[in-house]
């Protein structure tokens, strides 16, 4: 069902490339101001957005997702489930790496072997932990055998963590590992992929420069080069954008929208994301072990006020955990809504007529602190006395994983675009703590629904299972789902063809600069 004709998009890409070459909107250095520096250009060795943003242009995955989170061919032209446990991918044949080496099934196997290698301890390995075996069928066909039936595998394959790098640097990197270097140290210095841009230089903490890949199989990009520059302060990024020092400011804050819109030559680029922000309740602790209390609190929080008050209207109010673009999202599930009276009634029913006192944790992220401040005031109205505690990120992760919290604010991004990734880690009983379930909420019913859904090969049936799961999650309210944020970029009018992927990655292949 997912397979599409391989030749078409490739042909498209080539023609567009050619046209652009003739248009004259060629060349130029696109400068992007980013909040923070990439951590690692080893696609197996990082999972932060700045790294992905850069890596996405150097490496390619077998599959990609489009702006609607639909799977599209990448380095693989076709994919199909051979049986419950086996997925087969047909690879593109005319691809070479930046170092001139050839792309084929052996390279793909080497890549996935590396991700799954325990010595590498790749932070991406969880994406493929169900993969048991990788078989090279022939030069351009490869087979993934999973431990148990796992239907979202193509979605996981599409993740940029599955970016393919040259077999040679993998070997070099292993050699360095033998010499006592950290894994990825070679790849980091000299990343080699098949993507539209070639790594040029990286000044740690300052900037990364990529140049165009003239030999790109999809046609050379219009830009000569791309520079990712680190500008941590929002106001400064904006100033840089206004003065033309950079072309893209990633991100801008909602309060800056009016300023950007009011300035000539720059515009706002808005893109709904597949992320969720939520306030979790520790379901193992009193009084949050009581469904009524959780519901009451959810009911008492006006999400619109948060979105309008804090995000200046940017973002989509969340009903359940999944964003609309994610596969498995059910628009018919209705949320608890906002109803203070109902909330009071439920609290009374649960035995807390006079409310109670509790704490709300947030990490030191200004948006989250603002949400906490707002929620505190809102909950005051139903008599719940909330004390806000800011906890520094490292401690926050550790202490929430250990279940020391009452209520907490956190987010989640369904990077694969598939509901499995959006729900299984967060709500399955197997994932208490660090793997993602920090509300410690689980029911047997939900557990089995989520298990079944990830194994069922039929997408329609899966959709149905996820609908049920969402119903349960809304009703049980292990968390108050706040909103799905929207990415905001400040972009110069000179920039054409830029789009933003719902996972937060900027797509630069087709960008051109008018100067």
């Amino acid at each position: 069902a997912c397979g599409t004709d391989d030749s078409e998009p490739a042909a498209d890409a080539e023609t567009t490339g050619d046209e652009q070459a003739q248009d004259g909107a060629q060349g130029g250095d696109l400068v992007i101001a980013q909040l923070s520096d990439a951590v690692s250009l080893d696609p197996h060795g990082s999972n932060d957005t700045p790294s992905s943003n850069v890596a996405y242009n150097i490496y390619e995955s077998l599959l990609v997702t489009d702006e609607n989170m639909e799977l599209q061919p990448g380095l693989a032209t076709e994919w199909e489930a051979v049986d419950d446990l086996t997925w087969q991918f047909t690879l593109r044949e005319d691809v070479t790496f930046h170092d001139g080496s050839e792309f084929n099934a052996d390279v793909v196997k080497a890549n996935f072997d590396r991700i799954l290698d325990e010595d590498i301890a790749s932070p991406r390995s969880f994406l493929y932990e169900m993969v048991e075996e990788i078989n090279v069928v022939d030069d351009y066909t490869i087979e993934f055998v999973t431990e148990y039936p796992f239907s979202p595998l193509p979605a996981h394959i599409s993740h940029n963590g599955g970016g393919i790098m040259s077999a040679e640097i993998i070997e070099e990197d292993y050699a360095a590992l033998e010499d006592g270097e950290e894994p990825g140290s070679v790849i980091n210095q000299n990343p080699v992929g098949t993507g539209p841009f070639v790594f040029e230089s990286w000044t740690s903490g300052e900037e990364i420069v990529l140049t165009k890949n003239e030999e790109y199989w999809g046609g050379a990009p219009a830009l000569d080069s791309v520079t990712f520059r680190v500008v941590p302060e929002g106001a400064t990024r904006l100033a840089d954008l206004e003065t033309g020092a950079v072309h893209v400011s990633d991100p801008i804050s909602p309060s800056d929208i009016s300023r950007v819109e009011g300035t000539d030559g720059i515009r706002v680029n808005q893109q709904p994301s597949v992320s969720l922000s939520y306030i979790g309740f520790n379901a193992e602790k009193e009084p949050f072990n009581d469904k009524l209390v959780r519901q009451a609190l959810s009911l008492a929080i006006d999400k619109d006020q948060i979105i309008n008050g804090i995000y200046q209207g940017i973002g989509i109010p969340a009903i359940g955990p999944l964003a609309p673009d994610v596969f498995g999202y059910d628009e018919d599930v209705s949320g608890l809504g906002y109803d203070v009276e109902e909330a009071k009634a439920l609290l009374a029913e649960a035995g807390y007529e006079d409310g109670f006192s509790t704490t709300l944790w947030t990490n030191d992220n200004q948006d989250r602190i603002d949400i906490a401040t707002n929620v505190q005031a809102q909950l005051q109205e139903i008599g719940v006395d909330v004390e806000i505690e800011i906890v520094e990120w490292g401690a926050y992760l550790e202490n929430t994983a250990a279940g020391e919290h009452d209520m907490f604010i956190l987010g989640w991004t369904t990077v694969t675009g598939d509901a499995d990734y959006g729900m299984y880690p967060m709500f399955h009983s197997a994932n208490f703590g660090t793997p993602g379930n920090r509300t410690f909420f689980a029911t047997d019913e939900l557990d089995s629904l989520l298990e079944e859904a990830r194994q069922n090969p039929n997408q329609d049936e899966r959709q149905e299972l996820y609908s049920q799961a969402q119903e349960i999650l809304v009703d049980e309210a292990p968390m108050s789902y706040i909103h799905h944020s929207e990415f905001l970029l400040g972009v110069s009018e000179d920039v054409e063809g830029l789009w933003h992927h719902p996972t937060g990655i900027m797509m630069l292949k087709d960008v051109s600069l008018n100067q």
Partner: protein
């Protein structure tokens, strides 16, 4: 003098060891695990275990420290947990902007601070004095980011004279230097003023006046030198603290300096980077303090060096 310097450089060793021990124990004390921070909101326990094992975080603490120390002694500061890059590369890569920024800002602070302080002291209780004093307090109380952003608004966006981010060209360097220099000059000005007031009534100032020395020379040559000890101390501290990281300014002006590196490393629990950075700080600090002590002696020959 040489003996003194030699002694002080030897004393640097326990200071550096002390700093590493302190940093090390603090890192152990605070919650948060680099593996987990790297993994983010979700990470399987097995995964975390693997990373910890690889990084040696499961070894007994003394062993970890000893391993670290062994590395340092052989000139290896280790690798960053996050990026895998050698710590030395990361840390020394940021040294230049930090040192330059600190140096120029201190220079500016000393220049403005001394002049303002002296004028303030000489024109004690005058309008000039009050204006300078108010300006100084204003410069000090407004945090760096406020001043920095205001300067960006006026001089980058408004006038278009400078560049908002980066470090290297004049257009990039002037604003951060002003931003940082302002707070420093405020402290120096206040300190200079008060020290000058202590000195200006002394008999030897009268002697100088009796020679017919012009008031400027009285002030700058006779009084100032005698008033310099607290000022030099403050300058040293100022310079030191700037070396130790002007995080806010580095952030506002997107300067790739040590301060930001360390803060980010602390947040990421990137122990090797923190250790490496703190070591470099300590080294710079001790160095600055040695200079200050030598200056004491230079200013007042009665102060003995040891």
């Amino acid at each position: 003098m040489l003996k003194f310097l030699g002694k002080r450089f030897v004393q640097m060793i326990p200071v550096l060891i002390g700093v590493t021990i302190l940093t090390f124990s603090m890192m152990l004390l605070i919650p948060g695990d680099p593996a987990q921070i790297m993994a983010g909101e979700s990470a399987s326990p097995e995964q975390l275990e693997l990373v910890r094992e690889r990084l040696g975080l499961n070894d007994p603490i003394p062993v970890q420290y000893w391993d670290y120390l062994k590395g340092v002694l052989t000139g290896d500061l280790g690798d960053s947990i996050r990026s895998g890059r050698p710590v030395a590369e990361e840390v020394f890569g940021r040294l230049a902007p930090t040192v330059e920024l600190a140096f120029y800002s201190t220079l500016l602070a000393v220049f403005i601070g001394l002049i303002a302080g002296v004028i303030s002291a000489v024109r004690r209780y005058s309008v000039t004095d009050s204006v300078i004093m108010f300006g100084a307090l204003f410069g000090l109380s407004m945090p760096n980011f406020w001043l920095g952003l205001m300067l960006i608004q006026w001089l980058v966006i408004g006038a278009g004279w400078f560049q908002a981010s980066g470090w290297g060209t004049h257009q990039q360097m002037i604003l951060p230097v002003i931003t940082l220099g302002t707070a420093g000059s405020a402290i120096i000005a206040r300190m200079t003023r008060s020290s000058m007031l202590e000195v200006i009534d002394m008999d030897y100032i009268q002697t100088a006046r009796a020679k017919g020395v012009s008031e400027r020379v009285v002030v700058y040559r006779h009084a100032l030198k005698n008033a310099m000890i607290p000022v030099v101390t403050v300058v040293g501290l100022q310079f030191g603290s700037l070396l130790g990281g002007a995080v806010l300014t580095e952030t506002v002006f997107a300067i790739n300096g040590l301060g930001r590196l360390i803060i980010n490393a602390i947040r990421a629990r990137d122990f090797p980077i923190v250790q490496g950075g703190v070591l470099v700080f300590a080294f710079l600090f001790v160095f600055v303090n040695i200079i200050v002590d030598v200056l004491y002696r230079f200013l007042n020959k009665r102060i003995s060096l040891n």
